[in-house]
Symmetry: C2
Subunit: 220 residues, 2 copies
Amino acid sequence: MSRNNERAKEVRALTKEKNIYYVNVMSSPGAGKTSLLTKLIPELSKEFSIGVIEADIDSDEDALTVERETGVRTIQMHTGGACHITCQMSMEALGALGTDGLDVVFLENIGNLVCPAEFDTGADMNLVLLSVPEGDDKPLKYPLMFEVATAVAVTKLDVAPIFDFDRERAVANVRKRNCAADVFFLCAKTGEGVRALAEYLRNKIKNTNNFIYSGRFSYG
Amino acid sequence: MSRNNERAKEVRALTKEKNIYYVNVMSSPGAGKTSLLTKLIPELSKEFSIGVIEADIDSDEDALTVERETGVRTIQMHTGGACHITCQMSMEALGALGTDGLDVVFLENIGNLVCPAEFDTGADMNLVLLSVPEGDDKPLKYPLMFEVATAVAVTKLDVAPIFDFDRERAVANVRKRNCAADVFFLCAKTGEGVRALAEYLRNKIKNTNNFIYSGRFSYG
């Protein structure tokens, strides 16, 4: 674990050097990470050069989907059974993706609300998805994942009426774990709320030191 | 891991001695393990004496729900951050629950499609849930969980029309990992299919050596 934290510094040094904003996307299996990326990326890809790392234990489905739907450079990483991404894997994946010329890299982590939260990937932010069908109580049961979240995106909002999911209770449960995380409600299928999250990320990307120092954008 | 396998033998010796059929229930977070138990247990509790072990990283919600809804003896185990149940925890939980007079124990494992599959809990069967909103591709992405499944229960079937979930594709994907697992389609909310799974479990319970030798049931 301490070796992982050392490695995280190396990843951050690399992404800083390359002016890359690195986003670690985490959630349960099937919470909609891939679907969200296919809708989020087109909102950002006119302005930023984007790459995607898809991590799965097996199958290439997600990388094929993201590349087909968004046209951005995407690689599939197989963890060989591992339940999370270590910084070693994160670094190797960045190398395999190729970092030259990229502004943003999304890492879609293994679908798992427990272990990925324990391993810093060296990312600049953790975007944690909570899908409506899972229930609004998940922050109570999977505390660390919500503690390490920079932002929480509640997904599959279109089905909220047919599930017992309470938005206020969801926010209150996130707040029990994390008083700072920004919470978004959205639906990748209908597009509802995706633009607000894209705007939030746009600001994050632009306001990293990288972009301020590189002067690639003008502010004000 | 090899110590865990040794411990599994001890758990099985205990459950055999006590004539207990021990069911390990696994799935993603929010796939409906607790909801299914609240509907399944009343189908079995007239005939069998049942106990439930609820495992969570944190919160007592599930144990309170199961005990309130079914009236059966239920304990809450906290794993203190751990992403799975080891046999050591399994043994301790059985001790805390108290095994005397029980015919069946359900262990609701941590919501996680990865790590719990790696640790034999000493259970007689693994019941793996796959919820419709997660998608029919999950057996491709989380191979080991579906390899170790004795039975797979596809849950939240009522929302199948609004999700892109194909029953035949789900079975085909399970079959890529496991040619023997029995697959059930059900909805705990409406009750659809719950009785078929209960009947399947009833046969499993009655046909264990425990019950054959104990002569508690007559066959034919």
